[in-house]
């Protein structure tokens, strides 16, 4: 009884503190993710205050948070959108992978974290935060801009790339060797292909399985299906997150819309717990040791993302200012970088310092991203003005 009371008390305190942090973030128009991470760091091992009793719940809740994050991401897209996004932006998408995964991989190798560490950190620096990007585009009134579809299709490509990347990472982390690794990768690709075909042809059928007019029934069936698929995917080494993502894609039409509306508050709750749990498992004393690397990665990958957006927008005939805006919109890293790092850390296949580096990096990028999107226009304009007399 004692421990239950303590766990409730701790959980309540953590959630309330997160609410306060979210309010502070909202006041400055920034993403709450970095503050959640900071909250986790403050409450965890070696932090200001140690929360022990609630961590057991935090672990499973964090896993559910990842499943919901990816399920909602899948619900946002329809299968035709994914296919046409892939077709339109594959070249920019490939450049995106080369430019933004390489810095992470190189730094991990320099720090002696081996190939597994390199693949993990490559994913962390590669994937932009579609959540932060979409919010920034809306807040800055850029939804109607010509470069916005370019930005969105790069994000779509990244999310699809993650559906292939996560199974690779899961296999590597499980340390099952090349042959078994290839087998599970082939399995993952097969599953993704099958799901896309099902979603394209029979999306209505999948939707009708989970759909219900009763809100309660709908919620339970939806959540149950998501966790079942996630568990199955996890057992097949395809990664729970990818299973949830694919389910989200398969659910379509009005069912997808009402599902997203219904699950959004749950996602916010469990995802917040996931970010805190990641912070809890990260030793803040290790951050100063890797802070230099985090800053270096932040600087390099800000430039490489801007380059990616510039290239993608140029191909669609967008002007210079629009190209710069497209690049800056992609700079933010957030939820999915933490999902990747969290996956690696929870298995214990990478050193604890990687968690510290990923935390510091995402803290920087989640704050830097929206700022970059805001200041890019005045900066480019003033550069053009300074360059103009020299040319003319």
């Amino acid at each position: 009884m004692e421990s239950t009371a303590l766990a409730l008390f701790e959980l309540g305190a953590v959630l309330f503190a997160l609410g306060v942090l979210g309010r502070v973030a909202g006041r400055f128009g920034m993403s709450p993710i970095p503050l959640y991470l900071l909250g986790g760091l403050a409450f965890g091992d070696g932090g200001v205050l140690t929360v022990k009793a609630a961590t057991e719940f935090g672990h499973l809740a964090g896993e559910i948070g990842v499943v919901l994050l990816l399920l909602l991401l899948g619900l946002e897209y329809t299968a035709p959108e994914l296919v046409s996004g892939m077709r339109k932006s594959w070249l920019a998408g490939l450049l995106d992978i080369v430019l933004n995964a390489t810095p992470g991989a190189v730094v991990a190798l320099l720090l002696g974290w081996g190939p597994t560490g390199a693949i993990t950190l490559a994913g962390v620096t590669y994937i932009s935060s579609s959540g932060i990007a979409a919010k920034v585009l809306n807040d800055l009134g850029r939804l109607g801009n010509r470069e916005t579809p370019v930005v969105l299709s790069v994000l779509v490509f990244e999310d699809l790339a993650m559906a292939i990347y996560l199974p690779i990472l899961t296999t590597l982390l499980a340390g099952v060797g090349w042959l078994a690794g290839l087998r599970s990768l082939a399995l993952a690709l097969l599953v993704i292909a099958i799901v896309l075909v099902i979603a394209l042809r029979y999306g209505r059928f999948v939707s009708s399985i989970v759909d219900s007019k009763d809100r309660e029934v709908f919620l339970l069936q939806l959540l149950g299906a998501a966790l079942l698929v996630a568990g199955l995917a996890s057992a097949l080494n395809v990664s729970a997150a990818v299973g949830a993502f694919l389910l989200g894609i398969a659910i379509s039409g009005s069912t997808a819309q009402s599902a997203a509306k219904l699950l959004e508050p749950l996602r916010d709750l469990f995802a917040a717990i996931f970010f805190v749990a990641f912070g809890l498992n990260t030793d803040p004393h290790k951050i100063p040791q890797v802070l230099g690397w985090a800053v270096l990665l932040a600087v390099i990958t800000t430039l490489t993302k801007i380059g990616t957006g510039w290239f993608a927008a140029k191909r669609q005939g967008i002007g210079r200012l629009g190209r710069a805006r497209a690049g800056a919109a992609l700079v933010a890293r957030g939820e999915f970088s933490i999902v990747i790092a969290g996956l690696a850390v929870s298995v214990g296949a990478v050193p604890g310092k990687l968690a510290a580096l990923a935390s510091a990096y995402v803290l920087l990028m989640a704050i830097l991203g929206p700022v970059a999107a805001r200041v890019v226009e005045p900066v480019v304009r003033s550069m053009q003005r300074r360059l103009a007399p020299a040319v003319g």
Binding site: E81, L143, G144, N145, R146, L152, L155, V156, G319
Partner: protein, 160 residues
């Protein structure tokens, strides 16, 4: 006129066209049913000077405001040979006693000699509405009559 339709994955659809002034004008229709009015800047066509979120009602009213003057102009043109007859657009406001009631309830023709020739709603024209046509706040009535009759009609529609 060519309206460009662009998918915005995860958000909705953008529909816009380039006006003769050179600026792009259009809407972003969100998945969840919301609609934003967008107007591009004049010096940077890629960028938007305004992105104004509109409710369904507001979008309908805006569509009426943009569509009704053309109809009224055309009708005025038709009546040019009949002196003393004019056309005006009269709104059904939120306060109007006839919002939610049948057009026949206004007894417009009997009371003012003016006739309601069309109703504009959500950018669509409903020509020659019958007495059973139910009016809704936000509708614009296109009314033909003498200036005096039209003044009386406005009073009826706003005050009863």
């Amino acid at each position: 006129m060519n309206v460009d339709v662009t998918q915005l994955p995860g958000i909705g659809v953008r529909k816009d066209f380039e006006a003769r002034s050179g600026r792009r004008i259009g809407v972003v229709a969100h998945r969840d049913g919301g609609i934003d009015l967008i107007v591009s800047k004049h010096d940077d066509l890629d960028d938007c000077a305004a992105q104004v979120p509109l409710t369904v009602d507001e979008a309908a009213v805006l569509a009426n405001l943009l569509g009704a003057p053309q109809l009224v102009e055309k009708l005025k043109d038709d009546h040019r040979d009949l002196p003393g007859i004019t056309t005006r657009q009269l709104p059904i406001g939120d306060e109007s006693p006839y919002s939610g009631r049948a057009l026949g309830d206004t007894r417009m023709r009997t009371r003012t000699k003016a006739s309601i020739v069309a109703v504009m709603r959500a950018g669509q024209i409903y020509p020659s509405p019958g007495p059973d046509f139910v009016l809704v706040a936000g509708d614009l009535l296109v009314v033909v009559g003498t200036p005096q009759g039209l003044d009386e009609a406005l009073e009826i529609l706003t005050g009863g």
